[in-house]
Amino acid sequence: MMTNLSRTSFTILDDSSPFLASLRLNMPAPIRLRELIRTIRTARTQAEEREMIQKECAAIRSSFREEDNTYRCRNVAKLLYMHMLGYPAHFGQLECLKLIASQKFTDKRIGYLGAMLLLDERQDVHLLMTNCIKNDLNHSTQYVQGLALCTLGCMGSSEMCRDLAGEVEKLLKTSNSYLRKKAALCAVHVIRKVPELMEMFLPATKNLLSEKNHGVLHTSVVLLTEMCERSPDMLAHFRKLVPQLVRILKNLIMSGYSPEHDVSGISDPFLQVRILRLLRILGKGDDDSSEAMNDILAQVATNTETSKNVGNAILYETVLTIMDIKSESGLRVLAINILGRFLLNNDKNIRYVALTSLLKTVQTDHNAVQRHRSTIVDCLKDLDVSIKRRAMELSFALVNGNNIRGMMKELLYFLDSCDPEFKADCASGVFLAAEKYAPSKRWHIDTIMRVLTTAGSYVRDDSVPNLIQLITNSVEMHAYTVQRLYKALLDDISQQPLVQVASWCIGEYGDLLLSGQCEEEEPIQVTEDEVLDVLEGLLVSNLSTPVTRGYSLTAIMKLSTRFSSVNRIKKVVSIYGSSIDVELQQRAVEYNALFKKYDHMRPALLERMPIMEKTASNGPTEIVQTNGETEPSVVEPKHPPPINQPASQGNDLLDLLGGNDVPVIQTTMPTKPASAGGELLDLLGDLSLGGPAPAPAPPAPTSQPPFLLDGLSSQPLFNDIAAAGIPPMTAYNKNGLKIDFTFERANPNPNVAVITIHASNSTEADMTDFVFQAAVPKTFQLQLLSPSSNVVPALNQGTVTQVIRVLNQQKQQLRMRIKLTYTHKGSAVQDLAEVNNFPPQSWQ
């Protein structure tokens, strides 16, 4: 159907009259454009097509070489067709320039088209166009001027824009609406390319909006929008146009049917939307402007026909404007309700934009959006991926303490059934929301379990340490948690994050598993062997990653202090001493060493983990060290809290002592990264082992063998000779209990004083359940390590030693309050004392 083409089929592109051919001295005329297209389409294979193209290109090239003016236009047109098929056409670039320079309109039309398709601003050759364009901008025929404006406005480089901005500005002031609208969009392009030139267009904008022509109006609004977006000064300047814009918009809405602008009963929706967008920019942050547009916005919002896409397009823009300006609350609620209605629309596109818009407004108008929560949640079930994603993001944004249970149910259901691309984000979202709003610890653990079991392989790596930390903190849920995790392992060991968390928990709380202490649900009956079977199964399974294997080996090791099947565990550990996996091997070797040489230290080292503190939710925390790679190996710097008492005991001390200069006992974990060898050194260095009563003399370097694992005595290892001169002191001496302090400076930090207490008992009866506690003023930090024992033997037969590390950054006078509790001759004894007689060298 080519009704309008009858005239043009006789142009140079398609003419095949023999007259023409004869002019060219019996050379065949270049094949016509449509002929070429037809021929190429008959090609049955890619190779055939390529051959035809190559042949034609060769012909075109020689024609170009001959500087054939007659057929240049036809050849370039053919070249453009071949270019669209994906073939190179750069050799036609200069030819386009020649066509542009031609006097003939047909040439110019194809030439400018070619320039827009083949030339780009990266090549210098495009600058050759500048002069032609300049001439054509001043051409007597408006369609030639139009071609020039179009080309400049679509692909003009910054240099061209600079050169020709003046011409564009001139045309912006013309009364010819055909040229004026093109000049306006050309100006927009110039401003985008060379923002500094914006000023020069300002005068020409004076009466742009008084035009009746919709083309000019539309492009003018676009120009004004561009200027306002780029310059706050322009924005302020153009605010005065608000009443005029409101009037134009009103006229569009109220006007009768206009056939040329009508779209399904709405007059010029394109212009309406652009005006709404400009109003948004002008009204933002400005009370007066916002008020001036309030009525028209309300009118558009309530009167626009919503049965077709076009009406909804206008409503959409209106809602965006209402939400962005300083609109009154009634209008805002109206806007959100429109979005709510959008959500119920059958049209997916409308639901999509509604969700996108609600996501933008959920922060500022949270309550209003909450009202549409159930509709949003329904969108989770939509088939469209983009809608699902937005619904998911919005759902997470809407979760709060009141709706957490219901929302989580929906989101977990979504997690079960959604595409893999969503699972990681959804799982993270669930964890975050659960952490913020969990109504109970049990619910929290259950939710975590649900995520791990349904989307366990998609959970992010950092979730594992975060979850472990969460579980440790939920002390009363330990039995329940380990039981559920154990059961989950029985079902499925393929999801690594789940397996890792489960192994860690079984290692920690395996004793609770055995003892069947679970209150929350029916406790399972399980034997030690069964548990060890499961953990060993993880070690051998092909599904387990090396990290998981590390977790399970360590868990097995930990169980050696919680279970009685020590021999079995010893066997497992020794087997892995020759594992190919270096990490596993190292762990096994060290655990082996623990069994063989340091069995007496094993209980202390493998004790229950203290509650971990989280320093920041996303930042590196102590938990990072408990990541699979380095955790939870025995050689971690685990300095358990004073005699396994929870932190609340520290508070009791505070209460007793009163005053506000007594801080809580510091039991934070040291932040040194766990590195096997080094930590072992620290650990053993700090621990004083029960042995013969140490001489309270300053520890001189003894003839200890250099290998630090051997020859441990009660002497602390940090022998800084320079600090050896600190004399020891008696801190307490009452009722037969004597406590001496000996001092070192810690290496490498000279601000840390290492105090070893030596408790001795001169009475005839042992002091059992001996607990030593200490508190220091706020400017100090204190760390209490494990005591050698909690029985102070009678008649000075032995001492209990314990190490205190005090950080004295401000070099203040050291003071301490101590609390002692023990059982003596059947009765409980408790005492408090102040220690003020610290030698000056200990804190200077």
């Binding site: 453009l80 309109f105 047909t106 088209l113 990266r122 179009c150 679509c154 093109k182 676009v222 896409n309």
Partner: protein, 154 residues
């Protein structure tokens, strides 16, 4: 603004390409490949929108042709659908019951019509009649063979 407008068939053959931002040939080819792949693989009954890099992509199928535009974040997608529809209407008016073959064989005219409708990534003219009118009037300026031969080139 509109960053690009592409027309391609259901087999992924390109029928029209209009670029409003400067891209190298290689980059253009990549965009075309990505667009055809993303759009053609969309399951039925999904929305006409998708996200690609930092652009909103709006596409609509008319018979055997896909019309695909890339928009800025702040552009109105629903209006973009109207814009695509308007272009199809303009083509239809000019060619009379336009079909893919018309655009294949008369691609330069499809461009001429587009250039009277859009410019620099924005809508130039919102009147249904004005666009067609301008193109037809410009068509009359195209020289007949006699005129073409008699006019000097430069």
């Amino acid at each position: 603004m509109i960053h690009f407008l592409l027309l391609f068939s259901r087999q992924g053959k390109l029928r029209l390409q209009k670029w409003f931002t400067p891209l190298s040939e290689r980059e253009k080819k990549k965009v075309i490949r990505d667009m055809t792949m993303s759009v053609l693989s969309r399951p039925p009954r999904t929305s006409n929108f998708l996200q690609w890099r930092d652009l909103k992509i709006v596409y609509k199928r008319y018979a055997s042709l896909y019309f695909c535009v890339g928009l800025d974040e702040k552009d109105n997608e629903l209006l973009a659908l109207e814009m695509i529809h308007r272009y199809v209407e303009l083509l239809d008016k000019y060619f009379g019951n336009v079909c893919e073959l018309d655009i294949i064989f008369n691609f330069e005219k499809a461009y001429f019509i587009l250039d009277e409708f859009l410019m620099g990534g924005e809508i130039l003219e919102t009147s249904k009649f004005a666009v067609g009118g301008s193109v037809e009037e410009a068509d009359t300026l195209q020289e007949t063979m006699e005129e073409y031969m008699s006019k000097p080139a430069y």
